[in-house]
Symmetry: C2
């Protein structure tokens, strides 16, 4: 006994492959999609195909880009002396949304994780070393999430780059608006360790 008509069943099956989409959400999305106009559904389907076909990686910083060199790398107003190193493109997106950072990026494509078979060679680390050794680069900022793998990656990349360029790491501590009482011990310890003199 099939509850769904076959084309609907296939759509629900496909939608369920998306992250965080279970059977109930997939059904809700599918029934919603059937109520949309032909043009709207076509627009969604085309956006899927187009994004998959056109979006690749920037040859310089390995961020997602529809062109060989991404707009940030091409932008002469962005400070080429600073490279901010992140694990993946969503981290670069998050930093871009702050509108505070005006340098360039380098996306590693993940973090070092021997358990998952990800060694330094599976990441864009050699390309980073090459970029960071160019004379115009004066600072490399490591902005990698402080997980076990993240810290390993920060340490590894830091050791590699320190001999020839200034390497800094973003600050970890109590989040803005965070409540000291409810912060976890590791965060509090990092906040204490990273204390600075009031000026």
């Amino acid at each position: 006994m099939t509850v769904y008509t076959p084309p609907l069943a296939r759509l629900i099956e496909q939608l369920q492959k998306l992250p965080g989409v279970g059977p109930k959400t997939a059904q809700r999305l599918a029934l919603h999609i059937l109520q949309r106009s032909d043009d709207e559904v076509k627009a969604l389907a085309e956006a899927l195909i187009e994004a998959k076909q056109k979006v690749g990686l920037c040859q310089t910083c390995f961020n997602l880009s529809a062109e060989p060199i991404c707009p940030i790398c091409r932008n002469p107003n962005r400070d080429g002396s600073t490279i901010c190193v992140v694990a993946d493109s969503r981290d670069a997106i998050a930093l871009e949304k702050t509108r505070e950072y005006l340098g360039k990026y380098h996306i590693l494509g993940g973090t070092i994780s021997p358990m998952d078979g990800v060694g330094p060679d599976s990441l864009y680390i050699p390309q980073l070393v090459r970029r960071a050794s160019q004379p115009e680069v004066t600072e490399v900022i490591l902005a990698i999430s402080p997980s076990v793998e993240g810290e390993t990656t920060t340490l590894y990349v830091g050791q590699l780059l320190k001999p020839f360029v200034k390497v800094t790491q973003i600050a970890f501590g109590l989040p803005m608006g965070g409540d000291l009482e409810y912060a976890d011990e590791v965060t509090l310890a990092r906040a204490l360790e990273g204390r600075r003199e009031l000026v």
Copy 2:
């Protein structure tokens, strides 16, 4: 300053039109989709187009169907003497999943809601009256959610059909596994009102 490369921005924009998908979820889905293989993305896009093109309404019961008459209406093993009336196809799907109901369905396409401009004529009520007046039909079960609009619809349809066919309504009361202490007053009142003698 655009944070996303244009094809990615368009995909995120399209995904955000789905129900329950905000900017953060849309970004997460889009970045996930970019990591899938070309074939997988194509399969999703094609499932969207195919479902939208092929799925229409059954000419008898107005359930979603890829054929003019749906498999349930065509199935000679389903009891044609009983019609279960529901507001929309997701209600029929929910009932089918119980595997308890072996009669046929009639989907109204919504509930009567004068505030939203939905009168009895905007629903498949005339078609229900025609079906219910056929001699083989002996019972019409009203299974419409007990909202204000749902109750209005149940009352209206009940009054229309009662002169020529037996009309019943599904039971409302404490849900199975529900805790009496935490049930809302309206549910408890309906549970009391619907009490039956123990046999």
